[in-house]
Amino acid sequence: MRLVAITAAIVVAGGAFAQEVAPTDVSYGEYGAVEASLSGAPGNAEAGAEVMSQRSLGNCVACHQVSALGDVPFQGEVGPSLDGAGSRWEEADLRGIVANAKMTFPESVMPAFYKSEGFIRPGDAFTGKAGTEPLPPLLTAQQVEDVVAFLMTLKDE
């Protein structure tokens, strides 16, 4: 009886407080991993594949080749192929890499997708005009989770 009550309490709390973590509040581990879901909810791999392919969203394929997204044209070669990323990394590592890759790879050219301030001459999207910090992060908390969910499906054969 007591157990059931506690579970119920957690479910209620989860519903009420399944809070999004703001870009400035993300806590990175020593090697850049982020343990908890940024949106408080699990990711959707299918939506993540879309985010990775769309120029206007993550556009990850601008720099990375992903065999599972074979029908997406013009995959770039600035970063390593992401095939097998879900076998190489834990979910928390991938969340950290997508949110702010520089926490894992200092000096990386990979942009931080969940960061809102601390930029040099921040712009207003692609207008070339000045933007005001905090900027909306490149991806929402849920989009980061979706991307991570998709990356976790990229297992070594």
Binding site: R55, N59, V61, A62, C63, P73, F74, Q75, G76, E77, V78, G79, P80, K102, V109, P111, A112, K115, F119, I120, R121, P122, G123, D124, A125, F126, T127, G128, K129, A130, G131, L135, L138
Partner: protein, 266 residues
């Protein structure tokens, strides 16, 4: 991270004259790990490349012809044309190769565009051209073509040194929400594809450039602006002190390459 694309091994000749489109790294490239300065031409598709090898096929030459008329046209309060003081456009041979250049009298670093406007306003009593307007890019193209095949040779010492240092700092600054510097793309990743774009070293020996995408001539500073905009940053404006310094620095990274402008790019 294979250099799958890389630079090609084709030879660039314009109207039968061979260009130096690859050259041992000039001093400005020391400590970059780059051993060869390479013209952007080597990273383009064959059909785009071909348009630059014959003046008849180069769409920029229309602007050059237009500017050749302007060269002889009297304008302004002084009743003069460029030809009044400079004879024919061929008197401009070698000029493009050494710009931006320190102007002792004015005590400033001058781009070619600034010098053209200085002559218009001070020597002709004519209106300055818009820095990156069509009249200016056409005149730049006319002056540039006189130096085709000559090695880029901008000075970086003496009074130029402080501009060069400033340009270098800008080159390595990671601007915008994407936190990318010129070096992120053109030094660390030239030869690689970024989505559909084949990254070059971002050399400016081919400027002004006829861009097929814009169906028109594009100046160095327009290109800089586009590249910075693409990092989701606030850009600098054309003709700004930042871009003048950056132009000098980037030009020096290509010292030794042939002046190739007006070039053709996608």
């Amino acid at each position: 991270m294979a250099f799958a694309g890389g630079a090609d091994d084709d030879v660039l000749s314009i109207d039968g004259v061979e260009m130096t489109s690859k050259v041992a790294a000039p001093p400005a490239l020391a400590e970059t790990g780059i051993d060869t300065a390479i013209s952007g031409w080597h990273f383009r598709e064959d059909d785009t490349q071909a348009m630059q090898t014959d003046s008849f096929d180069n769409p920029a030459m229309l602007a050059v012809e237009r500017a050749a008329d302007v060269w002889n046209t009297v304008e302004g309060t002084e009743g003069k044309s460029c030809a009044t003081c400079h004879e024919g456009p061929e008197s401009m041979q070698g000029v493009r190769a050494v710009y931006p250049k320190w102007n002792e009298t004015a005590g400033e670093m001058r781009t070619l565009a600034m010098q053209i406007n200085a002559c218009r306003t001070e020597n002709m009593g004519a209106e300055a051209y818009k820095y990156d307007g069509g009249d200016m890019t056409a005149m730049e193209a006319l002056i540039t073509v006189q130096s085709q095949g000559m090695p880029v040779n901008v000075a970086t010492d003496g009074p130029a040194a402080e501009y060069w240092e400033k340009g270098k700092e800008i080159y390595y600054t990671r601007y915008g929400q994407l936190e990318l510097s010129c070096a992120s793309c053109h030094e660390q990743n030239y030869g690689n594809y970024i989505r559909a774009d084949h990254l070059s070293q971002g050399q400016i020996n081919g400027f002004p450039t006829y861009r097929l995408k814009n169906a028109g001539l594009v100046q160095t500073h327009n290109r800089f602006r586009g590249c910075i905009r693409d990092t989701r940053a606030e850009t600098f404006s054309t003709g700004s002190p930042e871009f003048i310094a950056l132009e000098l620095y980037v030009a020096s990274r290509g010292n030794g390459l042939s002046v190739e402008g007006p070039s053709v790019r996608q």
